[in-house]
Amino acid sequence: MAVVETRHLTKIFKQGELGAVNNVNLKTREGEFLVFLGPSGSGKTTLLRMIAGLEVPTAGEILIGGQVVNHLAPRERRIAMVFQSYALYPHLSVYKNIAFPLKAQKVKKELHKEKVEWAASLLGISALLQRKPRELSGGERQRVALARAIVREPSVFLLDEPLSNLDAKLRLSAREELERFHRRIGTTTIYVTHDQVEAMAMGDRIVVLNNGVVHHFGTPKEVYDEPADTFVATFLGSPPMNLIENDNVIVGFRPEHFRLSETLDEAKVNFKFRVENVEYLGAEYILSGSLLGGRFEGKEVIARLLLGHTYEAGATYDFAVPERHLKFFDRSTEKRVEARALTWQ
């Protein structure tokens, strides 16, 4: 096991253009499950590939287990990586796929069988060892890729969107399996995803990236409840945080905190909310509409409500947000600022 650290890590693909990764400083904890979260093109995969040794950084350092590894080839970094496409060797059987890292690392031949069987049983693919990758389903391929990654007991695991090729139902069970798997082996893991639900569910901590810059680095709770800026606030959460401009700040509140005024008996900010669309999702409603009256006339917002009351499109309701759930961001920098008193009418 090892700690991965990056210092001022930068990658510029084309001279004179904005970097794909800009001055990233982070440090994992021992055995941590760290998630890189960001939209496509945010530099999260480039960051992971630099840690793996598949891309050469333009500037900065990468440390694994306290040792600078910039000059080391991928195979000397004691890492394992699972690719988005799994990158199984199509001409080799599952057994040979899993044994390949052992062969390449010159592990003694007598140990191969035992180790492959150990990895295969850990992932429940012992029955598939003689098959070729093309004879496997998506979920089975993913497990083979994981087995190939763990078989030589790496000090760091790198996973590049390993669930994105699975269908929605399988993805959920595969996600749980991955979590259990990580708890059992306890290896430091870096996981790249664009799916905020995966990031929230799996990550011990989340690195939120956009345009190659780290916007927020914290636990899922911190990232969700105390977003560092408006990008993080709107990227996490579905539907995203409502943002309205008030004087020189942007005020944000989560759709689930925007509720009928009469149900809230605490310090709150009231709005008239005209509902334009009602989505019934079984366990909850998603209401979208606009604010009425005062300085926020016409501002579009979304509310997310539990069942228990019926709402009609076209009707206007008295809604409110508890004051403690309001987040304040600077209007020019979009960074989080202290809560402050504002006039609301």
């Binding site: 793996a52 040794g53 598949l54 080839a73 991928p74 195979r75 890492i79 394992a80 990586m81 690719f83 988005q84 496409s85 990158a87 060797y89 199509p90 001409h91 390949f100 890292p101 390449a104 690392q105 093309r134 190939r148 030589r152």
Partner: protein, 304 residues
Amino acid sequence: MAIAGPKIRSIGAAQSPLLGAAMFSPAVLYLVLVIGAPFALAVFYAFSDARIGSTGLHFVGLENFRSILQSPSFRMALKNSVVFTVCAQIIVVVCSGALSIALEKPFRGRGLVRFLILLPWVAPVSLGSIGWKWILDSIYSVITWVLIWLHIYKPYSAPMWLGEPHLAMASVILVHCWRLIPFSTVVMLAGRTAIPKEIPEAAAIDGAGFWRTLFQINLPMMLPIINVAVLFGTIFTFTDMTVVYILTAGGPFDSTQTLPSLAFATGIQGSDLAAGAAISLFLVPVLVLIAYLMLRMAHRAEVV
């Protein structure tokens, strides 16, 4: 129904057997006239005593084959054909494999290098071969000139590239390789680029170095396309006579004579049509085998 009516009729027209036959006939005509008829004629001549300038034609059974099999030049040509084909294919596969690796990653001037490598394939065979004939000439050879200038050989003991049996064979093989490598390189390059880039990357992370990745990952994955390149190359080499004919005309002492050039020399230049036809028929079993292997591979590629 009003809409469906004409639609059905038009499908019927396309399926009419007459139209189908009409569309197909040029291809059949081409095969029959240009390939089928000469082939049938060759088979017919091989069992006859046809000669240029003689009007008489008699059926002689297997007589031609019997006399050919006893002739030392034929045995020599058969051996040479095999040596020529096998050596050329090995050199071509190794060189074009290395070239395809070198040309895969972008570098400054890659376009120009690719163009230069393709040039021997684009240039007419005869032109290229005549160029090589000068390069390897006994008096004017630029290679000999350089070797003498470097004091590796004395002027009077310089090698005769096309005049000594082993050197001549080597020269013919190398010139033929020069001609085939571009095609093979293009095929191999296509094979390499078809490998998803994550797979060699995964191998690099798994701990494989350059040679292990090459021999255990890249080459096995390219095997189907290498097979295609080798089978095509074998056909081109086994049936080729241009390079041999222009460089050495089979000499010295039949040492570079291959089956096609011997068939030409016997049948056309030597006026013995029947013997020439019989010699060229010996090419058929090899070519049939290759055609069978190619069809089988194409079939397998479709099924997978």
